[in-house]
Symmetry: C2
Subunit: 209 residues, 2 copies
């Protein structure tokens, strides 16, 4: 109930673009990024290797579409984390933890997202207009006691984003395993790291706990 369009290959297939994207995501989850070839995607969707070229000019363009979905889902994950609101620094830590957990739970998708960004030397513009990036900025803004300039806000957001991404890329590294155990699990480890960043100290009200 999942592989290809087994049921009597329709004439023109209906919606190949969507089917290709879903096939790509399935391969990503199942076999990882290394197994994600255009030919494999076409195979999984039940079409010939050349068929995708009528919907995407490139392999890269297909991956872009997959990445686009990924950014949307990351956005949703951060929204959810922001819904459960705590105060100031905790709220930022929660956001960071949610970000890294998304990357940990969708490693292949996360990799595709950033591979696409690297290839164009930029994060997708959508992020800055109403996406995950501005959720971080808004959260920082809401918690800065009004004493944050526009530039400080931007810099703090960049700092937060970079820290989150760096941790996201390393969270599964085996060297951290002993520390995770020591601190009582992966999420506790994440919180501890984020707190050691002394994150956004310049912008967010500090409670000297």
């Amino acid at each position: 109930m999942s592989t290809a369009t087994v049921e009597s290959r329709p004439y023109h297939h209906g919606d190949l673009s969507r089917a290709l994207i879903e096939a790509a995501r399935k391969i990503l989850e199942t076999d990882g990024p290394a197994a994600l070839s255009l030919r494999a995607v076409a195979r999984e969707a039940g079409v010939s290797p050349a068929a995708p070229y009528h919907h995407f000019k490139d392999k890269a363009e297909l991956l872009d579409a997959v990445a686009h979905e990924g950014w949307h889902e990351l956005d949703a994950a951060l929204s959810k984390a922001r819904g459960e609101n705590n105060a100031a620094r905790d709220q930022m830590t929660n956001l960071g933890v949610a970000y890294v957990c998304f990357a940990r739970d969708n490693p292949a998708l996360y990799r595709v997202m950033y591979d696409c960004s690297r290839d164009r030397d930029a994060l997708p513009d959508q992020l800055k207009d109403d996406g995950a990036y501005c959720q971080v900025r808004d959260t920082i803004g809401e918690n800065s006691g009004g004493r944050a300039t526009e530039i400080d806000l931007e810099l703090a957001t960049i700092a937060a984003w970079c820290a989150g991404h760096g941790l996201a890329e390393m969270i599964s590294f085996k060297q951290f395993a002993p520390l995770k155990d020591l601190l009582g699990g992966e999420e506790a480890f994440l919180r501890a790291v984020f707190e050691h960043l002394g994150m956004f100290a310049k912008v967010i009200d500090q409670d000297p706990a």
Copy 2:
């Protein structure tokens, strides 16, 4: 004076392993990671496509060797930055800036370094014994007023490393260009971001400037 062993192909070539590594690095610098195929490396070194298999069991093993050199050079870059010593927070910022500048100046090499790490879900162990990683830890340790537990030190190092890596991967993103101009250049931008991390607040003496 650089391409292959043009001078009368010697019988057995002498030191192919080294030649292959250098060929790989040259291709990386010249044409980027996408052009780095084993066959291209062999071509550049002036040998047949199968020759490398007598020195590396895999393409991955060749890349490992290249990455190994990269980590060594990063180590050297951080050492140099640590030599020009300033006080506490500045010293840490300098280390971070040096790290990101290394990545910016050797983008393809840096990518190979982390690609190898990702494939094995771990940073090279050498880093923790006497490499770049422990330079960061030592610097933090030296500047913590003695009130840093072993665990705090480790967490602060991880936090610093992740932040550096995240920034290193994004430093060339076009969205940051306006901010760089506004702050008077890329290095000023880097310093500003690092300072907004409020980095290592838990561990390093804070001067309330």
